[in-house]
Symmetry: D2
Subunit: 478 residues, 4 copies
């Protein structure tokens, strides 16, 4: 049964005993901890949607791998149409919920990479990954991608660091499996997942071959420690403030691997440094496709919010405000258009999955993510200075001050002060809070940075062809 | 026989007697006039390509309308794949030749519009257009789009102008046909075409119904005068200078209609002002799709040129230059990615043609065209001040000065001074000449302006849906 | 004695009994309240600096008004050199402390406005303001500017609002003084000041003449209520986190005036709606001058931070990072250069103060403030995703996890993990927290918005002269 | 007599016999050559202005060096006020005439550099330069700056080039003087000047000491050849077209020095490579100050033109057009504000001249010049596609077509078609012609490129101080 309920999910978490620290304490009962409340609410939502009429069309898919319905999380997209459907769901869903969790792309990328390795090296990684995939699908399990290494001095290769553990690496192997040491950063939501799925974070040279390692381990494998911070939202329940971050948000972890054993059946790469180029080559278009779609959808949220607060303020028709909202629309369409274009230009990998266009997906995201940050500023301008000077909800709930707030925070006729406050708190949530910081970080750093986009376009754009064209025009012989 | 040779084309022109003025003279023999040499060279090229192995794959297509092969110019694209192929040819070809002539989109747009009108009004425009289309295909004829009206005071509607002719209009009709008066601007290459195909340039209200007129007339119809200016390139042959504008470039015309009669069989709209909204709705995505593709391809030319001159100057690896070229690449990919995305999102019109996504096509073009202008400046920076201070070729051809030029215009080792001069003259041609001005105009004004793109995105983006999403997040009831 | 100590300041606050609400409670003892701790720390600092060798050169000035030394806060700048010194202090000080408090500009603006009114109307506002100024100087008092009104429906004039109190107004007057009703928004730090100084927030027409009111009142005047929110920093002491917001930050208020009486001696404008144009004309260059300087200085903080974290990460020499930092430098220089240029172009007002150039001050700020928001995103990119995923200091202080953090958050050789953490927490403080939101709001909304800058440039740029020049070039007669 | 008439100037040119090639011919009589007509018209204008009431206030100055009035060209600015007056004249004059000729800055820069060299080396360059300066002033002579070398492979130092002449160098010296070989590029108007004034174009190392040479020579010195191209304007007289380029524009030259002898009295630097850093350090702020002012003034022309054509088209109030014009205004004010700021922050050099602020002058220019290129595109958008498709004046002058043009090129009521055509031809002149290319080149390449601005800001911004501030905030010990 490839689709579980959120109750089954929570129950399954209770059976795991990961080593988790948060706010200076060790957590025994994650499901019951206040620090995980928001995160679990969000995780459950995705389980619920896979079961819910009106949503399951988007969140449950028939999988040929196990001939059963599986969730959005665990479904492998095997053709352009599948990929297009995937981003269409993200586009729509992230515009109302900020995130759809695009974790599956990590597995897709390794799907192609393991195929390539096996073909050249005669290894059996691809079959193992297939088995792991089927296991995830059948049990409807969740996994966290462990990609980014701590990296220490970013100008040095993994093997050249003062401390060799600053990138995750194989320190030993035997007939049963491998022992790994190191850590992965930014392992969002790791303690509420079932597995950590690790892979290298960049191109590796031969000297770094111990760092060319990909595997999956249960989160409570011996030697793993999660140094966790709470989701950005408030710990206590709010009635008006923080409408997004009260329901949405990841705990973030430094996931430490202290001599962790991984059995061979869950090892998907081990030493094949020369395939990290392919891995990155597949990762880049997949992650930028998703991120471009996501940033487009989040831009839609900003645009909708800007339009609504302008209306509440009585200036919905002001030309400079309409201009700013049009800028948001254009950026959203560019992000989305390039995502569609990247899928449209994708090529089928022999392992049976489409690889989207690298340059287009990177270019679209590059544009959209940089503008996203500017739009947060524009939203401040449209909403006004109240975003950071307005009273907290405690004042609104206090009878002694509520009347004044009702009177002086009134917007245009026909809009209740409470609705305007709700919207302003949402803007505060998105642009003047820890959650707002997370939106910036997510736009700028998640899935590679803008600079990475530039590098990828530079690498993949066919400049030589363009130079040949120019020589022909100029009648320059080579 | 839907594909003709360039000889047949020139011969056919000799049979026409249009009323053409250029440089203060009336032209009798267009084919033999120096003012039309560049233009005709370019027109012939497209005929040649439709016959030439290696090119005809892109420039000749089987047409179901006449069950014969027809040229790129006259082929109606009837599905997404056809549309995608069309822009793929433009993308590749414009990157080596600046233009592929995207005139057919005007006919496609009227294909859909006439279908809509007939359906609602019981008219027979669509059948007439089909017949005209077949005629064009069978004879492999060329046509010029007459869209833009002179417009006079742009703040006034056509019928409110001091002079009612400032937009082309029907002044009379009878059982044989209609009489039109007015003019069309920017009728590129009109005197070397076989037909003028006219349609309204914007949304019309009921008061303007006489202006809701679309038709085709031979260029030598009585009452038509072409007030023409030469293509931007040089009149005399150059050996090194102006490598693009010596071979590429349109004559431009003000095409005056002085009580011109058009038989009903060539009238495709006459008074149906309420369908101009649909017309614009179809025109916009088609023209922006082509223009986005075109601007992307021309950006490729700039990128290739920038890379080559940087190499010639010995600074191909300078990071600031690579950065600028990467900016060009990104913009090119955005223009191209959105064109692909717009096709991917197109919907099939009941008349049997796909309508691309309006917002995406406008957004992609908007970005790409504005950056194109900036890139001309960047190209100056990369090439250096010599672009406008270098000697003319007359000095290079003069023995008395050639040695000094050879010596002092040398770039990096291994590159001949002559090759470097050729490339610099090309840059001059693109950025510091009348042809350069045409590239800017083409990027900015052709196919609607950047502001039009903004208006189209604003109109077509689903803002209400985004506002609904925001209300749901904020728990605001409607 | 125009310079007091911070102890004297705190003592003076204890003598005031304002009506203050914060976090749902009424505050009796502001000096002892945890909600005011950060704010008071900052207020005291400015008193201390006026007494401290090495700082007093910048924060104490001889005042000709009272022939004594007075503080930065209360000193009236009466010539270009004084103005230049003022912004030089802001530029240097805000680059290390974010804010210098530029409140005095409000009084300078009213200094000129009252002079103009008296000259035309024979009133005595200017003398009253002089007296109030001397009082502030002698007692070294602090005042909060109350400028922004709640505004309700921004498309309607004050007198056209459903609720006439949505802009502060005179509801009655008698021989003793006036009665005002309404509220002022964004009255930063009001409860720790001695006075509120109110003036109109925009251009008024005759119908709005009751809204043309300027006055000063003690903060504990009868009828004033402060609905306050805490400064954005943490309430509890941090050891590493929030290094800026633990020491810097304003409480913000909605300041309600419920039938507040103001004696005539403290009324500086009452009904002279036609002088609001002059008021705005003086306010604009003053506030943009300060804000441009301030934003330049804060950009310096971003640039320094970016350079330092890049170095800590081992990538201080990466060209793309240097590029981003250079962008910051350029924006900082533009903000600062235009501030200097605006002073250099200032004209002396007959009341004895210089009025800086409106267009230049607005243009410089416009550029600098928009880029500031982008730079927050760039800082994320340079620092990396850790800004929002790094452990809280609770984990660093916990022995069980500290070793892992020490190991895995190490940067380049020679930099202690703790220093890197401190810096990352500062970046978090500036870009991913409530304080970060305040920095955005301050850049975008404080002192008028970017759109206001555009309007001011448009109004003050001499376009007619430029048009005349163009006509002369074109030989167009007028 | 420090001020001459234009007749005296032309007479003086007739006495010189420079070796000039243009359009494949050698020119004997420059004053009578059609290729020099535009250029001489412009040169004469500056002489005329120095004699003309209403203009001489700006173009004639009392010089303490010779105790006589001298022209704008030859006047040394010795304090902030003088410098401010200089840029004020440029700002006003370039907004109506495009150029004021800022050649004097080259001599100012060498004024300071020679002083520094003499002080350290005991040489006598400064006295020689003073004498040369007085000679220029007394005779009211003109000089061309020869700064840029051909440079060959830009990645190699002068002495490392395959051909050592690719930078101008000393090949021999004797008791009488020095012999130089090489060439200078972009020597605008050189054949109509009296002297070439040469100096190094960049930082030199010891190996390049032969390239550290500055001197003045008469243009007809033996061994000098001018390979010249005409000014960009038309050779034949136009009645409507090219209103700017018919009157304004430089001939450009490659100036070749083929073993040219320079007597010691005109040598101002010879081998002191270590002072090129100072030279560049003085050159940079001076040239950017002038260029920033100039670009601001040319932006004023664009803004005025845009406003006027929008009015003629009936859309002067359209918000998107006003927005674009406001963008132009803002950029103009930034360029001008930073120029004023750079003067305001200038420091007095011991040789008796002010050195403007390097960072501010570079930052202001950087912004303004990049936007200038964008504005050319905006001007196309505002004016419309007619800029490159409108009839030539030959058609307007032809009776057979004039009526149609009169009718169809009419703009809004009250504006004659002829005036609209004049303006459109001016726009064509500025944006779609060789002259337009020169405007781009001048904005982007003249006086160093945008990239040079970035480098200068990077070098001169006090980043260490900002880093120190950040460490203090974060409590990081050094």
């Amino acid at each position: 049964m490839g689709i579980k309920t959120s109750e089954q999910y929570l129950e399954s978490l209770r059976g795991l005993k990961p080593n988790v620290y948060i706010m200076g304490e060790q957590v025994e009962d994650i499901v019951g901890s206040k620090y995980f409340e928001i995160t679990l609410k969000e995780m459950c939502k995705w389980y619920d949607w896979a079961n819910e009429p009106g949503e399951k069309e988007d969140f449950a898919y028939w999988s040929p791998l196990i001939n059963e319905d599986v969730s959005f999380w665990t479904h492998l997209r095997q053709d352009k149409d599948g990929l297009r459907k995937m981003i269409a769901v993200m586009k729509e869903n992230n515009a109302r919920h900020f995130c759809s969790m695009c974790m599956v792309i990590g597995l897709s990328v390794m799907w192609a990479t393991t195929y390539d390795i096996d073909l050249e090296k005669g290894t059996h990684y691809h079959e193992r990954l297939q088995n792991f995939f089927k296991h995830l699908q059948r049990e409807d399990l969740r996994y966290c991608l462990g990609v980014m290494d701590p990296k220490g001095d970013r100008s040095l290769a993994p093997s050249a660091q003062a401390d060799p553990d600053l990138h995750l690496r194989v320190v030993d192997k035997n007939s049963e499996g491998i022992i790994v040491n190191g850590a992965k950063m930014h392992t969002s939501n790791a303690p509420v997942m079932h597995y950590i799925f690790a892979c290298p974070s960049g191109l590796l040279k031969e000297a770094d071959k111990d760092y060319a390692v990909s595997f999956a381990v249960p989160i409570d494998a011996k030697g793993i420690t999660f140094i966790t911070r709470p989701a950005p939202g408030p710990l206590e329940k709010k009635s008006l403030e923080s409408p997004a971050s009260s329901n949405i948000g990841f705990v973030e972890c430094l996931t430490v691997f202290d001599n962790v054993f991984v059995p061979w059946e869950n090892v998907f790469m081990c030493g094949e440094w020369e395939f990290t180029e392919k891995l990155v080559g597949y990762f880049s278009p997949y992650v930028r496709l998703c991120k471009g779609t996501c940033t487009s959808a989040r831009t839609d949220i900003i645009a909708g919010t800007a339009a609504l607060i302008a209306d509440y303020n009585g200036v919905g028709k002001a030309s400079h405000i309409r201009n700013k909202i049009t800028d948001m629309m254009i950026s959203s369409e560019i992000g989305w258009g390039c995502a569609l274009g990247a899928v449209s230009n994708s090529v089928q990998h022999p392992s049976g999955i489409p690889i989207p266009d690298v340059s287009i997906s990177n270019a679209g995201l590059y544009h959209c993510r940089l503008r996203f940050v500017e739009f947060l500023g524009m939203l401040h301008e449209i909403a006004g200075g109240v975003v950071t000077t307005m009273p907290t909800e405690a004042e609104y709930l206090n009878e002694a001050t509520r009347t004044y707030i009702e009177k002086y925070f009134k917007g245009r006729k026909g809009i209740s002060t409470e609705d305007r406050l709700k919207l302003l708190y949402f803007i505060q949530d998105m642009t003047a809070s820890r959650f707002g910081g997370y939106l910036v970080a997510s736009a700028i750093c998640a899935g590679g940075t803008p600079e990475t986009n530039r590098v990828e376009v530079q690498r993949n754009y066919n400049l030589l062809e363009k130079i040949r064209n120019v020589k022909a025009i100029c009648n320059i012989k080579e």
